[in-house]
Amino acid sequence: MIENKVVAMLLAGGQGSRLKELTKKIAKPAVPFGGKYRIIDFALSNAANSGIEDIGILTQYKPFLLNSHIGIGSAWDYDRNVGGLRILPPFTSEDGGRWYTGTANAVFENIDYIDEQDPEYVLILSGDHIYKMDYNELLDYHKENDADVSIAVMEVPWDEASRFGIINVDKNNKIIEFEEKPENPKNNMASMGIYMFKWEVLRNYLIKDDENPESDNDFGKNVLPMMLAEGNKMFAWVFDGYWKDVGTVRSYWEANMDLLDPNNTLNLYDKDWRIYTKSRNLPPQYIARGSDIKDSLVNEGCYVMGEVKRSILFSDVIIEEGAIVKDSVILSNCVIKKGARIYNSVILEGVNIEENATIGSEGDSHIYMVSDKNIIKE
């Protein structure tokens, strides 16, 4: 065993149905974000930048695009033949096949994989969140406290606290109570779904949880409360950077728009903490004479002849002459034809907006999600 070895298990099976058309064909971690990324890139890049050498990706729901995005992990330098990144879908053994029934069960089913890596610590991550975090800080905190589990938490606005799993702590940040979406929260510290466990402790509890037929095999609902009840040393580690769980179409749009704020704390230009993604090897963007781009992020392969304001263009987007795009997110391979006007919209991959079509209006308070089949107003 290498000292302090950490294996990360990244839960990437989430369906994310509130994202509607965005997750119709793909799992939530595969949803495009920020001009060139997919949501899972953030957790994967955090792991790579934190020097975590072994990572298992737990997939289940519609893994096809996710598999092809991740490949063998080359973009994150995880393409090692021994260790590195492994995609871990459900499999079958003597007693037949079993689908993952919950977050804890997904890890339980892969105890053999983790044992083979022989780690001291296991880090549970979710592929659903957008944030930059150095997991070494969590690890250091975990070791200082000699904790059995350390949970990353962050302050949320008091009026939103009842939407989260709230964690109550003593003055040393030792966890004394979990409250799952409490009506009257005592606290506004929400769990981020990021857990650092001692592997030997987690291993025992995963087996124990599996033996309980009443359990939903979920970390937040079952495993962590059981550990607390049995007196394990559990600490909360407070994170204060940018973090977003893009659960709805509006929060998805907002999180994208956040990137245009020059003071946004998710600085994508930080050379010391790059977010990596699969490269599409496209040529540079071409900005034509007569175009007008301001306050926008534009990716490779785009061809811009029209007007783009406060918007994000993913790769290979064409904005024709006279088209206007404002306060919008245009995913890859879209064409916004001549004279079309787009406001406050999320245009899904490969959608063509016809000439002179109009979606939304300047100053509109709604968000529009446009697929090739329909427009959802939110």
């Binding site: 920020g34 001009g35 060139k36 080359s74 973009a75 245009l260 020059p262 994508l268 230009y269 790059r274 977010i275 990596y276 993604t277 490269s279 090897n281 496209l282 040529p283 540079p284 963007q285 071409y286 900005i287 034509a288 004479r289 007569g290 175009s291 007008d292 781009i293 301001k294 306050d295 926008s296 992020l297 534009v298 990716n299 490779e300 783009v308 994000i312 263009l313």
Partner: protein
């Protein structure tokens, strides 16, 4: 194309490029916003199904090794086949010789053991998206020993003086090959690519060494042209023959033409290059960009016109960049003006500084050079 081996051999023209080639060979010159010249050669071979490519690196090998990453961008970082670098041999028989023949000879073992029976020779400083599958078919069907690829080049202004010129008979067989001196307004420009039977290649190299009469493979071919069946394959697409600073500058600026960009970037497959993980480019409130090619990772607050901007460049408020080629991570500070210039990587143009060349002789700022107002 499974049986064809790609061979990239670049020669040494560094002196024609001044400060741009102090630390890099010509084929490593940045081109088109995010590429190096050689990316076009290698990608075109890979897209046409060539699985093994050897590169004679020349002496300035560090930048090549850094960029090529053992072939990773082209999926050529393989256990079997893949991309192989041959740095120059600096000891033994070949160490003090000029020309490509001694270098080819120093790797004869390699040619004699690989299973490929055809060699595709390529000069990476000439960019042309030739359909190699079609050219290979022609080479096979005519049962030639050597097929040279040429382009009928219209050249009323003598811009292509010193390029290679070939003439062919009515059956497309080679008559002569020499240097174009501009005596005709149109000539057949040999683009220094072609197919050659491996056995002919090996024989030409060995005989040149034994007789001591040729240092360069092309010379050996000419001297022995009656012994081999040599013909020409005509290519009518766009060609950039990069042989000095001016043609390098023009080749970049030419990419602002829609047709040229479409052909070189898209036709016949993707151009692969080393991935840099830059985020998208940010255009701020004060940016104004017209007719320019912009790579990722830039932050543009100023005005850009008719220019090629590489990855990670920053252009400050009130700055003007016009008719220029700005390489990776260069910084142009507020209110600076850069006109008809080439900025090498990480060059810095300080606040308010104004530099300008002419389109005939662009102003070159060296790698990491800092120009400030005093």
């Amino acid at each position: 194309m499974e049986k064809c081996l790609g061979v990239i051999s670049a020669g040494n023209l560094e002196n024609n490029f001044g400060a741009l080639c102090i630390h890099r060979p010509v084929y490593m010159l940045p081109y088109g916003g995010r590429y190096r010249l050689m990316d076009f050669s290698v990608s075109n071979m890979v897209n046409n199904g060539i699985k093994t490519i050897v590169v004679y690196t020349g002496e300035k090998i560090r930048s090549t090794m850094d960029h090529i990453e053992n072939g990773r961008p082209w999926d050529l970082d393989r256990r079997f086949k893949g991309l192989i670098l041959f740095p120059p041999v600096t000891h033994g028989y070949t160490s003090n010789k000029y020309g490509d023949i001694p270098q080819f000879y120093s790797t004869m073992d390699f040619y004699e053991t690989v299973r490929e029976d055809t060699i595709f020779l390529n000069h990476p400083n000439i960019i042309a998206k030739v359909d190699l599958k079609a050219a290979f078919k022609y080479f096979k069907e005519t049962d030639a020993d050597i097929t040279f690829i040429y382009k009928p080049q219209n050249d009323p202004w003598g811009e292509y003086v010193n390029c290679e010129k070939i003439s062919l008979d009515e059956d497309n067989n080679l008559e002569t090959m020499g240097m174009n001196l501009g005596t005709e307004k149109e000539f057949n420009m040999f683009i220094r690519s072609g197919f050659m039977k491996k056995e002919a290649f090996i024989r030409l190299v060995k005989e040149a060494i034994e007789k001591g009469d040729s240092d360069y493979l092309l010379d050996a071919v000419i001297r022995n042209k009656d012994k081999y069946k040599i013909n020409g394959y005509r290519f009518d697409g766009h060609v950039e023959n990069i042989r000095n600073l001016k043609s390098f500058y023009d080749a970049n600026i030419n990419l602002l033409k829609k047709d040229v960009a479409r052909e070189l970037f898209y036709q016949g497959g993707t151009i692969f290059t080393k991935t840099k993980d830059e985020p998208s480019t940010l255009y701020t409130e004060s940016s104004k960009v017209q007719n320019s090619l912009i790579a990722n990772g830039c932050v543009i607050e100023g005005t850009v016109e008719n220019s090629i901007i590489f990855r990670g460049v920053t252009i400050g408020k009130g700055a003007l960049v016009k008719n220029s080629v700005i390489m990776q991570k260069a910084e142009i500070h507020d209110n600076a003006a850069v006109v008809n210039s080439i900025l090498d990587k990480q060059a810095v143009i300080g606040e308010g500084v104004r530099i300008a060349g002419s389109t005939l002789m662009p102003y070159v700022v060296e790698k990491k050079q800092v120009i400030r107002k005093d």
